[in-house]
Subunit: 176 residues, 2 copies
């Protein structure tokens, strides 16, 4: 950040009065520009015993597999964001959406809010950001071709919970 | 947002190519400035059968009571944020911190991540943002003097769960 998005003057990275962390502060209007973690909302979509995965058509990690997930938008709830991302990336409608996990990834300033949901109809297809969408049994999951560590972590946890028969919302940290 | 924080040129609010929502786009360097919900991390702090509340020394809602909570910072986990806010606002150290609730407040673009924790030592005191810090039994909770609807919602749920003996992480939406 180099310029104040409000008045266009230059900003200085310094600790504002009454604060204890450096922020981008406008040299002219004094506005403080906070930068905070972003929420990524995602969905583990079940269809009987199989899970829906999308093969990414965009960078980063083009060609690798992921669960439907993306940045939460202003004006929506995290649940709505997870449902929307599933519709956009897999053209799939889901129901019985419940919180499944919170994954902190502090070195990239992201918090994943993962939900578990059921495919509502048998319809799915690649959206503009996907090359392919498919259902996978556990032994078919492409573990070596998953796009992100958080996806692998979520799926491992899912299969552990499925074996134990108890799905509980959990918090986990992915540290560098 | 009026100016590009990267190059200082003016921005236009329009739908970028390949997107489906209007964003602030720089007229000169083309950078897209996304705006996303912020996470507030908070803590329901238990000390035996009582809960710790802080009386706010700052606006908004100066003089009203809240649980320790505040904006999550880049580079930390949500759990660390809840622990830090409790230390800053109530000078209190907590342990046994577990996820308790996700509260979506879409009209102000906030998601509260609420944790439940135990006061680790008997020490607490008002931090710079608090006028007072105190422990409350259920019948002492100042329901008419709580700072935010999300605090009332969280505390009501807490007492319901305490009566049932089962605390589960839940998702709730506060809609306008």
């Amino acid at each position: 950040m180099n310029y104040c998005s409000h008045c266009g003057a230059s900003v200085t990275h310094r600790v504002p009065v009454g604060d204890n962390l450096p922020r981008h502060v406008c040299d002219q209007c004094g506005r403080v520009h906070y930068q905070n973690p972003k929420i990524v909302a995602g969905c583990v979509v079940e269809c009987e015993s199989r899970l829906l995965l999308c093969r990414r058509a965009i960078e980063p990690r083009r060609g690798l597999w992921t669960i439907p997930a993306g940045f939460m938008e202003n004006g929506e709830t995290a649940t709505q964001a997870a449902i929307r991302e599933t519709l956009e990336e897999a053209c799939a409608r889901v129901e019985a959406v419940s919180l499944y996990g919170v994954y902190n990834i502090p070195h990239i300033n992201q918090v994943y809010l993962m939900f578990r949901a059921r495919l509502a109809t048998a319809d799915f297809a690649p959206g503009p950001e996907s090359l392919d969408v498919s259902l996978f049994a556990e032994h078919e999951i492409p573990w070596d071709e998953l796009a992100f560590a958080v996806v692998a972590r979520t799926l491992r946890r899912y299969y552990e919970d499925r074996r134990s028969g108890v799905f509980t919302a959990h918090v986990d940290d992915l540290l560098r």
